[in-house]
């Protein structure tokens, strides 16, 4: 079966984010960018499905500026077979991303679509669910285990109370949580090989989707920062402070 994986280019998770002085957004100039960590987990899961003989082909798709090619190449080096780059410099919000992905789904007809549960820049946690709605598929969100059997997929989900397992008809959408797998690193030979894998380039207009902003960001600010408090000498002092100064116990 064919698996489609959506990956997003975001700020590297180790980078200390700085808000622009004019409060229009976050400063991304000369900042290290990377594949969204949850998307790495999505790619890894697809590759494992291929290694198990469940997936036959892995198509990776990204929506973003020219530089997002790097994330496609990374996914190809990790084991995806070919890429689709929907190139745009516009800010693409989750609903529009889902609409673009829907048209890719219609074209490619994958049996499984795997996305990250959340972009670590917008912290939206929306796109997979929206794509599932738009394509009329079932969804296994926040997945920590995925088992494909016949025309069904069983997904164990990380929920607030613990774990929940659902069965979904294929085709289905899956969004990854942290415990689904531990992504591998790309080997040098695979990075070289990835350069030769095909990547198709298109624009949102080619897919008939107009990228509009339904949410307008009015301003972006630095959060009120907490001040470091004091160091206590020992446990007795800690308990004394908590009880008599902070009065929280």
């Amino acid at each position: 079966m064919k698996v489609l994986v959506a990956v997003k280019r975001v700020i590297d998770y180790n980078v200390k984010v700085r808000v622009k002085p004019d409060n229009t957004g976050v400063d991304l100039a000369n900042v290290k960018m990377a594949m969204n960590p949850f998307c790495e987990i999505a790619v890894e899961e697809a590759v494992r499905l291929k290694e198990k003989g469940v997936a036959a082909e892995i198509v990776v798709v990204t929506i973003g500026p020219k530089a997002s090619q790097e994330q496609i190449r990374t996914a190809l080096a990790l084991g995806a077979d070919r890429g689709i780059h929907i190139e745009t410099d516009a800010e693409v919000q989750s609903l529009e991303a889902a609409k673009l992905l829907k048209s890719v789904v219609e074209k490619e007809q994958p049996r499984l679509v795997i996305l990250g549960k959340q972009s670590i820049d917008s912290d939206n946690n929306q796109t997979g669910q929206m794509l599932a709605a738009l394509t009329g598929m079932g969804q296994g969100t926040f997945a920590s285990e995925v088992v494909v059997e016949g025309d069904k997929v069983t997904v164990t989900r990380e929920i607030d109370g613990g774990l929940m397992t659902v069965g979904l008809k294929l085709p289905a959408v899956i969004t990854t949580d942290l415990r689904l797998n531990e992504p591998r690193y790309a080997s040098l030979p695979n990075i070289m090989k990835a350069k030769k894998k095909p990547v198709e380039n298109m624009s949102p207009a080619d897919l008939g989707v107009e990228v509009t902003s339904r949410l307008t960001t009015l301003k972006v600010e630095t959060p009120a920062s907490r001040k470091a408090g004091i160091k206590v000498a020992d446990v007795a002092e800690l308990v004394d402070k908590l009880k008599n100064e902070a009065k929280v116990i």
Binding site: A98, T141, L178, P223, G229
Partner: protein, 313 residues
Amino acid sequence: MSILVIADHDNNKLTPSTLNVVAAATAIGGDIDILISGENCGTVAEAAATVAGVNKVLVADNPVYGHSLAENLSELVAEVGKGYSHILASAGTTGKDFMPRVAALLDVAQVSDIMRVESEDTFVRPIYAGNAIATVKANDSIKVITVRPTGFDPVAAEGGSAAVEALDIVKDAGLSEFINEELAKSDRPDLSGADIVVSGGRGMQNGENFRMLEAVADQLGAAMGASRAAVDAGFVPNDMQVGQTGKIVAPQLYIAVGISGAIQHLAGMGDSKVIAAINKDEDAPIFQVADYGLVADLFEAVPQLEEELKKVL
């Protein structure tokens, strides 16, 4: 304006965060209705009817809604919700699962995880793991919103007298089925709403050692939390993870033990009133946010803490 709040519950009890979501709805202003969907959820409907400020309680009680499967629930909410100006739910894992589906069915954007209401269409929410705070204006006619409970003080659970109305809407999308559930059983308070949280990290070394923390938590009547590293290592279950991609907590007191204080962890507990940290590394970033820091080996400090607490509690 008319606001539909989707209640979070387990078919028996209303989850306390629903009261915070009603508070967010109150801040927006307008008539507030609560939708309860579930199976044999009559007691939840009764509880919702007494919540302060609620106009009407709508109840869709049917086996298809028993496990809040997003495919079924989103169709229900989209149908009921299209008559409202705002649809709100808690940003817990249930709300995160079905709400974007509702938004897509209605062809509107979702505003995730709001922590403040500026006006009926403008909301404040954290981005980049809370390292930036965005004010966003929603331009669609229906606003689909998930609410970060810790951003809003809960409304009173009593005092209201809303009318309860049964809905005869059965949506079975036929795409998904519930198989099973492994829910953490604990006599401790729920992590999301607890007054005191005791959390352990990789420094705990193994799951067995968490017993030391449990002893302290029980003395304090606290909930237990953990860092991602402790969950990934299998010391404790996933439902204990606090952080950007886990649970958001804002207790009166957060005690971090053997946790370094990565930004992703701070994103989940940085709004705690008082933070205490025990870490053997005096340069650990957690000390930059801790009100009280103790540089010590946790294997000595935690047993001592239990002894000291015995004296004062």
